[in-house]
């Protein structure tokens, strides 16, 4: 039996304990052995996306040391996983265990879809849901077919959500446009971030989504912040919170 190291993104640990706990519960519900190593902090993505290579390197090395002993590393975030899989190379190439963590770090839904492969889920969520294809999970991890490419349509996220009873999906005008979170982009390019976020939410409202769901809490945090400020008739929900309904 393999052992999973649970990586909870730093801001989720501090701000979204319930969504994080739901992630753990789902993994455990499959009978998997999951451990949350206490010394973890941050993968270094804010530093990396701001160009601070020296600082990123420190955090990437920490991540490697903490997580290399696990068979799999699972995280409730497409962008943190993408950081490990695609951006760590510059800092960790050649170090012991790097190839292992690069190959075996998964986003939660990706892990359920590709590794756990459940046949059914005993969950019900009788609501119309709009999927937010957050960019790093979508275009870097390849969780679903992207609109730019001429490939057969697929979505690992939808495959998993399809196992939820009563769920229906909204049809968006722009299926995979960025919401404008973008990490420090949300601050650096505040005006653009806000305009992009509002456009994304409006698309969901027009399509009749009751909930916007996705694999990145950060995008949802940004959109929920706009929804709360503008008092818009829609909610966000992290995908693990749908999948863990009824789990103890």
């Amino acid at each position: 039996m393999y052992k999973i190291g649970l990586f909870i993104p730093c801001f989720m640990n501090e701000l979204y304990p319930k969504a994080s706990m739901d992630t753990l519960k789902i993994l455990e519900s499959f009978g998997l052995e999951v451990e949350y190593p206490m010394e973890q902090t941050c993968c270094g993505q804010p530093q990396a996306n701001t160009g601070c290579a020296k600082e990123t390197s420190i955090l990437a090395k920490r991540f490697l040391e903490i997580f290399k002993k696990y068979d799999y590393i699972v995280a409730p975030s497409g962008s943190c996983v993408s950081m490990v899989r695609y951006n760590y190379k510059q800092f960790l190439e050649g170090l012991d265990g790097f190839e292992h963590i690069q190959k075996n770090t998964y986003e939660l839904i990706e892990f359920i879809h590709d590794i756990v492969k459940p046949e059914k889920l005993n969950v019900s969520f009788p609501h119309k849901v709009g999927i937010h294809n957050s960019c790093h999970g979508h275009r870097e991890l390849g969780l679903a077919s992207m609109s730019e490419k001429n490939v057969e349509p697929f979505s690992k996220i939808k495959d998993i959500l399809d196992m939820v009873d009563g769920i229906t999906f909204s049809k968006l005008e722009r299926n995979d446009e960025c919401c404008g979170f973008g990490g420090t982009f949300a601050i650096t390019e505040e005006a653009m971030s806000i305009a992009m976020g509002k456009a994304r939410i409006q698309d969901h409202i027009d399509a009749g989504s009751e909930y916007i769901t996705g694999v990145d809490m950060s995008c949802l945090m940004h959109m929920q912040g706009l929804i709360d400020r503008e008092k818009l008739p829609i909610k966000t929900i992290y995908i693990a919170q749908i999948l863990s309904k009824g789990l103890k």
Partner: protein, 456 residues
């Protein structure tokens, strides 16, 4: 062009919400047309792969292919000139014109001459320069640079064009009917074509094997220019080379579909020699390109065929407009080229990007655009150009993140104190997040605390 950074210029553009949304929609319409076309070609992804391979290969032996091109072009009676920078390029063009006593130049679209600032240089030296692409002519009359590399006047509405033509072409007041305005432009441009002494075109592809060039336009203006006066000058960057004629088909299948969602441009014109009793010159320009060629991180930006697909798909370009970049080429490709060209001047451009990667995946020749912008950010930091406050904040965050205990305590304090503070303090002007967004509700416990409690 503005001297302020992208965030400020973008914010200004986006403050006219109606116009910003209109601009976004206009470009999204082009993006959707492109999707329809690219999805109708079964082997689209295969074409991208081949195009990438041809360009990668060509760049790996660029010196060879350039010399071959020069040799074959000369054999076709074309004169070939080499320019190491914008200055040399402009002087060469002026020199050719002056030797022939040419005073009136008609130009078709060329981003290279925009890059080199050729028009003002020639005008200063007594040459009348007329841009003959309709969009280019509109912005030229308005004394504006193009705001897009394929759609130079995309920032303007038909009413704006109407008032511009009223002023310069004396069209009817208040008439902004596109057909009427196009006819007026056509009549005006015909007169310019007929009176011209020389023409200048850009180059979409220069074929090493044949020594000829290919120019793609929708308006036929390059053809008219290159056929009427006896003197034709074509200007190209060193990266425009492709090895063989048969390679061309790959690129012509990708170019117009990616650019405007057309199966092919209306005119795909091949120029292989001067016209009878005429002269043809090709000016090959480096202007910083060999510096990029020598840089593994950014070399792929030289593969660009200037289709503009990355610009149309960029959610930031669509909402900030071409001028917000302050560089002659906007959008993702402009941001990487601009940063390579002059990092000090263009240091905000690598950050004018949410790293959504749509550009990289739409690019017909697979330029790794968002990865380049990610790497340019490190150059910004290395050059000491990152905002000091931001850098300090990230350094402190990194230090905290090295020590889980300190991080836990900081988190706990924040979760305890922030909910107690009055709104006016939490949402002070220093809270940029909170300017237009609410913060999430701070929970009582962190996940780590819940996890520990659960384990007991």
């Amino acid at each position: 062009m503005s001297n302020i950074g992208h965030p400020e210029a973008a914010s200004k553009f986006a403050s006219d919400i109606k116009r910003m949304k209109w601009h976004d929609k206009a470009l999204w319409f082009v993006r959707k047309k492109r999707d329809l076309q690219s999805h109708s070609v079964k082997e689209w992804e295969e074409l991208r792969k081949i195009a990438d391979k041809i360009k990668t290969h060509t760049l790996s032996r660029l010196d060879f292919y350039l010399r071959e091109f020069e040799k074959n072009a000369k054999a076709n009676n074309i004169e070939v000139h080499w320019a190491k920078d914008a200055n040399e390029h402009n002087k060469i063009v002026l020199d050719i014109l002056q030797k022939q006593g040419a005073k009136k130049l008609v130009k078709s679209k060329s981003m290279l001459t925009e890059e080199c600032q050729l028009n003002p240089f020639l005008e200063k030296n007594g040459i009348e320069v007329v841009d003959t692409d309709l969009g280019e002519r509109i912005v030229q009359l308005r004394h504006e640079p193009p705001s897009h590399i394929v759609l130079p006047a995309i920032h303007l509405k038909k009413e704006d064009v109407g008032t511009t033509f009223e002023e310069f072409l004396h069209t009817q007041k208040g008439n902004s009917d596109p057909t009427y305005l196009t006819h007026a432009a056509r009549k005006h441009l015909r007169e310019k074509f007929l009176a011209s002494d020389a023409s200048l075109t850009g180059v979409n592809f220069a074929i090493s094997q044949t020594g000829g060039i290919v120019v793609c336009t929708n308006e036929g203006n390059a053809d008219l220019g290159a056929s009427l006066p006896k003197l034709h000058i074509a200007c190209m960057g060193i990266e425009k080379i492709i090895p063989k004629l048969e390679d061309l088909a790959i690129f012509t299948r990708l170019l117009a579909r990616s650019a405007t969602g057309q199966p092919i441009t209306t005119y795909t014109s091949h120029y292989h020699s001067p016209q009878r009793d005429g002269e043809m010159h090709i000016v090959i320009v480096d202007n910083g390109r060999s510096k990029i060629l020598a840089n593994d991180k950014y070399i792929k930006s030289l593969q660009c065929i200037r289709c503009g697909a990355c610009i149309n798909t960029c959610p930031i370009y669509r909402r900030s407009g071409g001028y917000s970049y302050g560089y002659i080429i906007p959008g993702p490709i402009g941001s990487t080229l601009g940063a390579s060209h002059d990092i000090e001047k263009n240091y905000t451009l690598p950050f004018a990007c949410s790293l959504c990667a749509s550009c990289t995946n739409i690019c017909p020749v697979k330029v790794d655009l968002h990865e380049q912008l990610y790497l340019h950010r490190q150059d910004v930091v290395d050059a000491g150009l990152l905002d000091k406050t931001k850098y300090k904040a990230l350094k402190i965050a990194t230090w905290i993140m090295k020590y889980p205990l300190i991080m836990d305590i900081s988190g706990k304090i924040a979760r305890k104190i922030v909910p107690l503070l009055p709104r006016s303090i939490v949402y002070s002007k220093y809270n940029i997040w909170g300017k237009n967004r609410e913060l999430p509700k701070f929970p009582k416990n962190s996940f780590k605390e819940l996890y520990k409690a659960r384990k007991k």
